[in-house]
Subunit: 632 residues, 2 copies
């Protein structure tokens, strides 16, 4: 059953778990990132983001005044003091997007929590951005500063359409929060230029890093401008067609093998496996789902379902992580889910949630919400430290700090969160997702109000006010109260086999449907349990993970001693709650000093294995961590 | 107890197992490599080896005639038609060594199996090599062809001392086989130049890729020339001293971190961990053991023992492989022994055998022979296909062909042996080791004849003729017959707890000492068994390997079906011999289609697991292989 998400303006989060997370983003992440964008964080790599907008603004002004403007090369991914002129663009080619992601998060945050000072700062940033826009609507500081003549000549690598996408997303957010149209107008002007530039009888290109597709749809949702939707459809459908646009753009004639990375190896309707750069992938798939919805395109919808199925059945970590290999930050082959080499980028799980929301709105099947929940409560939340000041880009399921330090194959596996990244996609992406989490929780159609995620909130639905009081993350209890009788569709989480709903319901596709209720109490029994991974995944043979409700748990050596691999879980374990920890029964093997010896049962002593929610790991200094433990 | 190895001239191999292997090398590998050196193997990468000697010979002639000779850059590791002049040196910087390794193997082979035609071919190659030597004794075709003025200016990277080392080794072998002094004289002239060039008050350099150390000792053993031994000692002791020679050579001032790769990060007497490029490492350690022996150097001997202990207790695969990481083809950190990412280069195991032989001769402790045996019967033999025509460079303990094809992290893991390598160190290294295997089997001192490896042979010892009739690899039975009563020291393999010796003996350090015997029968019970790896090694938790005598076994999917990870060995398994295979009891799990599900015991059906000696794997097309299996 199709539905539409609900504007954040109509959702006021009030949840014992999420209030804290959102407040952390509001009080720590957003101000920290504001400083980072302005290169004022001591010891962090410079962003150059705002500086680039200021430089571009100067160029725009000079051009308006008919002054001559220098030209610098646009020939690399990252521009530094070492490799370019001080007046040229600095940072990564996609650096503009950081400001947009920050503004998008600020917009969401302001909706839920008005803050005049923050709004003032944001408006200053908006002004700097708007000043950097060329008269024709073009807005990408790399090309504006370095070489106006080269715009749209390297779509494969240089992220103009990507930056546009983030501009559009932030513009919608910021407009809805503040009513300030400036950024929305700027986004529309750039969108108009893109619509004028790309299309069947125009430039047949598409971005190397997808997002413009879903961003144009978002602008369409906001403005009703049909050409935005049509251009999004063009970008989706043109992708991967022959002759390859990226070939033509780069003067080569390839078989397209390298374009798996960009999901441009074949037309999207012929894609049925998630491949290439994982973030790019899920951003594309989200855009495809948008087109499937608004263009009622059955072929694209089928491709979305096939790709979804491939991800969740063959390429998904138990933590909701995707992208098993560091090489290309990419999806690996089916069932290749190594724990200690995982890439599992925070942004990729965020993108997976985007994709899941769209699929759930196309058809309310609980699988979508289940996977979004897995990603949200585990990999996404793990991306941020408990003080909101440090971030994981990569989210492994097993870490041995010695290996991270000494093994080049694990250089990407950081045993502690990092302060900031010059390539800072994850922290601001986290901020915008968390600040808009309500949008992923609820949807509605003409007849029904859907609860996909049990996040406490007061929602102004088309059926009137609906209050969700949620203790989902602790006791599993949720209470929903509506002003007037309402039809509800409530996702039954796949982890829960034992639940009660205080009103009659019928179950379909993993949702409980209730007719005309005003008060309903739901209780999901979230007792801890052992979960196994398919034996098609080589890394997890003989092992199990522990979950409780939405949370995956892990063992850390700070709680369990070093050499976590010497622990074994008792398959019949009871669980004991110990504050935020779980205690499980198991054994610790005696260390075997002989490298090789005749096989005998290894002596082991019973022990309590102390388990921590995965999202909280790594907050107590460098230490070993593992999600999976041998089970016996 | 110290001893000396016995010249191959005095060892005639006659062994049901080794006759075949040696014949394979003689009939297949040596002729194949002869063609490869001459670039006459269709479809194989070009070697350019002989071509370089011919080119260098022309340069030498031109120089003698006072003609001018062009100069080409010496600035890269590999010279191809694409990156250099057709008249310049071609191939890798160490390409000369392939001819030397081939000649060394030929020499050994001729000793055991005279072959006039092969000798003729070898003498032609020798002539080509000798013609390429400069008047001052210098002999390295890269510099002779490209730029005579630059010799010995990049010891770190460009392998002149390495090529010299192989020249010296081949010269000794070839001289002993044929009595032809030409190559020996050439090696001595080059050695003389090296002795004149390097030393305390001369150039304080040493090779980036070790071997010159042990090669100079070998020349010393052959010629008695003291300065060869002294220069070897200098090269050993100068290594890693500050200021770093490699720093000075390259005009940098480093902390020496990068020199771990070359074992030049600190003086050798301060080294106690095997680090860096594994082949280089064991070549150095072999040279150190030589110096410990001939210079009676206690500090170096202690370093050797420490490094040995580190390798065998913390960095050795059950197959005798070393070098766990592809990055730098290097030793990884302690206990980091991944099965599916192993490098475990064939050459590294060969070098480990060199090191082990020297250590066993310094002090007869069975550990050395045990490890040499592990390396020899598993990794080294696995390096060659059963037809002698294809070779493994890398010897993983677990292979999933899909991963090799699709996962960049496993690009080095080849699921089938390759024809030839442009960087062809392994095949000729294999040929020379196998052709000289007798040298690793026996040694003697004034009182005792040592049997380190039970290889059937007739040995002309200082105590007269000793015959070893060996069925060690099959039944574990060996019979030793001496013309006159002799004191024997027989290694008791560590895998064997149940053995009988037909004469009285005393056991010490893993050797059985017998006094004044003429006939002795030995029986080692080589029943198959399960072996476990220390639980400090994360990759092998919950798993076991199967061994029988010296051989490690593995499972291949051609025998056991795909998804080998779904097999479990029964910890109480009986074993059944089935031709060359072993059948073990176990189970195959039902494939679990759900990626994640509540933990329950996985349904499994009893099955026979068919196991193959590791060295024979991969001879039946691409397929999965694993040495370790889950055990329950």
């Amino acid at each position: 059953m199709q539905s539409n998400h609900i504007s954040l303006k109509n959702i006021k989060i009030n949840d014992p778990f999420w209030n804290n997370v959102c407040e952390l983003v509001r009080r720590e992440v957003i101000p920290y990132q504001y400083e980072a964008l302005h290169d004022r964080v001591e010891g962090a790599e410079k962003s150059y983001c705002i500086e680039n907008f200021v430089k571009a603004g100067r160029v725009v002004k000079a051009l308006k005044n008919g002054e001559s403007v220098p030209v610098y090369p646009v020939d690399k991914w990252q521009y530094t003091d070492e490799n370019c002129d001080e007046n040229a663009f600095h940072g990564w080619v996609f650096q503009d997007s950081d400001a947009y992601k920050w503004l998008e998060a600020v917009g969401y945050s302001l909706i839920n929590h008005p803050d005049a000072e923050l709004e003032k700062k944001a408006k200053e940033v908006v002004a700097v951005i708007c000043d950097a826009q060329l008269e024709n609507g073009y807005l990408d500081t790399l090309y504006i500063i370095n070489d106006r003549s080269k715009v749209f000549t390297n779509l494969r690598d240089f992220h103009e359409l990507y930056c546009f996408g983030h501009l559009a997303e932030s513009a919608v957010s910021f407009y809805n929060a503040t009513g300030d149209r400036r950024l929305l107008d700027a986004a529309c002007r750039f969108a108009d230029l893109i619509c004028d530039t790309f299309g069947k009888d125009k430039k047949r290109g598409y971005g190397g890093h997808e997002i413009a597709e879903m961003a144009l749809v978002r602008l369409y949702e906001q403005t009703g401008e049909q050409r935005y939707l049509d251009t999004a459809e063009f970008l989706v459908n043109e992708r991967g067609r022959r002759p390859y646009y990226f070939d033509a753009e780069h003067g080569v004639n390839s078989k397209g093998e390298a374009y798996h990375y960009n999901q441009a190896h074949r037309p999207v309707i012929k894609q049925d496996e998630a491949v290439g750069h994982a973030v790019r992938g899920v951003y594309l798939y989200s855009g495809m789902a948008d087109i499937a919805k608004y263009k009622n395109d059955a072929e694209i919808y089928t491709a979305c379902k096939n790709i979804w199925s491939n991800i969740v059945n063959k390429k998904l970590y138990i933590t909701g992580g995707i992208g098993a290999t560091v090489d290309g930050e990419a999806f690996s082959f089916n069932y290749d889910l190594p724990n200690d080499l995982a890439y599992s980028e925070t942004c990729a799980s965020i993108g997976l949630i985007f994709f899941a929301r769209r699929m759930a709105e196309l058809n309310a099947v609980s699988d979508y919400g289940d996977v979004a929940e897995r990603a949200l409560y585990n990999t996404v939340l793990a991306g941020m430290s408990e003080d909101g000041k440090r971030f994981f880009y990569v989210n492994p399921l097993e870490v041995n700090p010695e290996a991270s330090h000494k093994d080049s194959r694990k250089r990407h596996i950081k045993p502690v969160r990092q302060k900031w990244f010059a390539c800072a996609c994850c922290p601001p992406n986290l901020a915008r997702l968390i600040s808009s989490v309500g949008e992923y929780a609820f949807s509605e159609n003409e007849s029904t109000f859907f609860v996909h995620q049990y996040i406490g909130a007061a929602v102004q639905s088309r059926f009137g006010r609906i209050d969700i009081a949620s203790d989902y993350t602790q006791s599993g209890k949720v209470k929903i109260t509506a002003k007037a009788p309402v039809n509800l569709a409530l996702r039954i989480p796949s982890w829960c086999s034992d639940y009660s709903i205080s009103a009659p319901f019928t179950a379909k596709d993993g949702y409980a449907y209730l007719d005309g209720v005003t008060d309903v109490e739901i209780s999901f029994d979230c007792k801890p349990k052992l979960v196994r991974c398919s034996n098609r995944v080589r890394a997890n043979i003989g092992k199990a993970a522990v979950t409780k409700g939405a949370f995956v748990y892990c063992a850390e050596s700070v709680d369990n001693g070093e050499n976590l691999q010497m622990l074994t879980l008792d398959k019949n374990t009871a669980f004991e709650q110990d504050g935020e920890f779980l205690l499980a029964d198991g054994w610790r093997e005696e260390a075997q000093n002989a490298l090789y010896s005749d096989f005998t049962e290894t002596p082991k002593t019973p022990c309590k294995i102390k388990l921590h929610p995965y999202y909280r790991w790594g907050n107590r200094g460098e230490n070993e961590m593992t999600v999976y433990l041998p089970v016996n």
